[in-house]
Amino acid sequence: MTYKAKLRVWRGDDESGDLKNYEVDVNEGEVVLDIVHRLQATQAPDLAVRWNCKAGKCGSCSAEVNGKPRLMCMTRMNTFTEDEVITITPMRTFPVIRDLVTDVSYNYAKARMVPAFAPPADLEPGDYRMAQVDVERSQEFRKCIECFLCNNVCHVMRDHEDNKASFSGPRFLMRIAELDMHPLDTVDRRQTAVEDHGLGYCNITKCCTEVCPEHIHITDNALIPLKERVADRKYDPLFSVASLFRKGKEKRAAAPATPKG
C-alpha cells in the first residue's frame, strides 16, 4: 500500500533558508531516510543529505523530524499518520552547510580536548588485564555511534551559542566519565571535567538521554556519577579530610595540559 506523504523539508544554507512543501510516495516498511532519498531522486536532485549505513550505526543521518532530534534511517514512516505533515530540518545547534547537512566540527574540536587514555607508564600495551566487572560499567558508553544528537538537543548550547566555548556537551562529558571510571587510567579527569568541559552547566534535565539512539543512560550512568565524583573531590570537605588519612590510595596524576580545540 503506497500513499503520498506530505513533507516539509528545510532547504537553504548558512545565509537563508525555508521550509519547502513536497509530496512523496511512501511504501510499506520505509523510513524517513528512504523518503528523503526518493525526494532527491524524483523532485529535488540538489537536496543535500548526509547518510552512510542506513542501519543506525554510522551516526551520519542525524536530523530533526517533527522537531525531535532523530536518526532519519531509524525513524519509521508508520509512526506518522498518512495525512500528517512531516517536517524535516537539519540539527539546529550546529551551523548549517546546506539543506539537511550541518557542520559538526564543534564536536571534533571538543573530542580533541579530552586527554587520551593513559595507562600506568610501566604497563606494556599487551599486558593490560582487567576483570569483567571493571570493564562492564564503561562498556555501555562504548555503544556511542557519535551521531551527536545528544549534543544537538542539549539546551546548554542549543539555546546559548556563547556556552559552546566552555561546554563540551554530554557526548564528551560521558567520554570523560568513562575514562575516569577506567581502572587502568592514571589521569585525574575531575578538574578538567569542570574547568575545561563545563560539567557544572549540565542541569541534569536528561534530554541527551531521551534522544540517544543507542539508549545509553547518559545522565544517570555518566553525568550524575561524574558530578558525584567531582563532588567527592571538590565540594565535599569531609571526604577530602578523610582521604588524607587513607593509606595506599592510588596516586593520580593531574590531567596533562588540555589542547584547546
Binding site: 528545510w10 537553504g12 548558512d14 533558508g17 525555508d18 521550509l19 530533526e64 517533527n66 522537531g67 525531535k68 532530534p69 500528517e84 517536517t87 530540518t89 539546529r92 545547534t93 550546529f94 551551523p95 548549517v96 550541518t102 576483570a131 566487572v133 571493571d134 560499567r137 538537543v153 539546551h155 546548554v156 548550547m157 542549543r158 539555546d159 546559548h160 551559542e161 556563547d162 556556552n163 575516569d180 571510571m181 577506567h182 581502572p183 563545563g198 557544572g200 552547566y201 549540565c202 542541569n203 541534569i204 534535565t205 536528561k206 534530554c207 534522544v211 544517570d220 550524575i224 556519577p225 558525584e228 565524583r229 567531582v230 563532588a231 567527592d232 571538590k234 565540594y235 565535599d236 592510588e250
Partner: protein, 262 residues
C-alpha cells in the same frame, strides 16, 4: 523571549521555537501543578502549629518534635529547645526541603517545569543567558550528599515513629489502626526514596574504580543501581505518602475521624 541559541548566526534559519507536534507541555505542566500543590499544602501544615499529634501517631512534619512548645506525647528527647517561639515544624522541615530541592530528580523536575530551562527537549528556553549549576546558589546542589545524610537520620526517627504507632493508648503493644499502616508505609517509601538516591549510589560503590577489588561494595552498588533506576517513581510515591500520612494525622488530631480503627 530572547534566545541566543537557535537563531545564532550560521544555524539554519527557522523561526519556530520548536517544531515538535506532540503535546510536550503536558508533562511540565503537571509537574508544576503537583509540586506547587505540595508546597502550598506543606507550608499550610508547617505553619499551622497544631493537630500534629494524635496518640500514637505523630505527623512527620513535626517529628522529631524538639521545641518546648511541643504537645505532651509528641516531645522528642525531652524537647530541649525551650526558647523556640515558632512552630516546632520549622526546626525540622528544612531538612526534607533541602533533601528534595538538591535531589537530582527534583532538579530535573523544577529546572524543566518552573524555570523552563528547558521546558521540554528541543523546545527553546525563554532565557537570554544560562550558567547552569556553575554559580551560587545552584552550585550548592553539589552538596546533595549532606542533605542525604540528614535525611537518613530523619528516616530512622520516622521509622521509630512508625514502630511507636503499634502501641495502644495505655502504652501496651499490639495496636494496629489504619494510621499504623499509613505511617509504616510512609516510612518504607521514604527509605526507598533515600536509598535509590544518586549520591547514595556513589557512596556505596560508584566512586570506586576497581570494582573487582571491592566485591562487597560492588554488590551494594549493583543493588542500589537497581533501585536507582526507579528513583523518580519513589520521589513521587514518597511525596504522596508524606501528604497522606500527615493529612491522616491532621484528621485524627483535629477530631475529624475517630474510632478504634483509627
Amino acid at each position: 523571549m530572547a534566545t541566543t541559541g537557535i537563531d545564532a548566526p550560521g544555524r539554519a534559519k527557522i523561526a519556530a521555537k520548536t517544531l515538535r507536534t506532540d503535546r510536550w507541555w503536558v508533562q511540565p505542566l503537571f509537574t508544576f501543578l503537583a509540586l506547587t500543590a505540595f508546597v502550598v499544602y506543606s507550608t499550610w501544615r508547617v505553619f499551622m502549629n497544631k493537630y500534629y499529634y494524635s496518640d500514637p501517631y505523630i505527623s512527620l512534619f513535626y517529628s522529631p518534635c524538639l521545641a518546648g512548645s511541643c504537645v505532651p506525647g509528641a516531645q522528642f528527647a525531652g524537647a530541649p529547645i525551650t526558647w523556640w517561639a515558632f512552630s516546632p515544624a520549622l526546626l525540622i522541615a528544612w531538612i526534607p526541603l533541602a533533601f528534595r530541592f538538591t535531589c537530582y530528580y527534583y532538579r530535573k523536575a523544577y529546572f524543566r517545569s518552573f524555570w523552563l530551562s528547558p521546558p521540554a527537549c528541543a523546545v527553546a528556553e525563554p532565557h537570554g543567558s544560562y550558567s547552569g549549576e556553575t554559580k551560587l546558589p545552584l552550585i550548592l546542589n553539589n552538596v546533595h550528599r549532606y542533605a542525604l545524610y540528614l535525611g537518613l537520620v530523619l528516616n530512622v526517627i520516622l521509622t521509630w515513629d512508625a514502630i511507636l504507632a503499634f502501641r495502644n493508648p495505655d502504652g501496651s503493644w499490639g495496636h494496629v489502626g489504619l494510621g499504623t499502616l499509613i505511617l509504616t508505609l510512609n516510612a518504607f517509601c521514604l527509605w526507598m526514596y533515600s536509598l535509590s538516591c544518586h549520591s547514595c549510589r556513589n557512596a556505596v560503590g560508584g566512586r570506586i574504580t576497581h570494582f573487582s577489588k571491592h566485591p562487597v561494595r560492588y554488590q551494594m552498588w549493583t543493588f542500589i543501581s537497581k533501585l536507582n533506576t526507579h528513583h523518580m517513581r519513589w520521589a513521587w510515591v514518597s511525596l504522596s505518602t508524606v501528604v497522606i500520612a500527615d493529612f491522616y494525622v491532621y484528621l485524627a488530631a483535629s477530631g475529624a475521624i475517630s474510632g478504634s480503627w483509627v
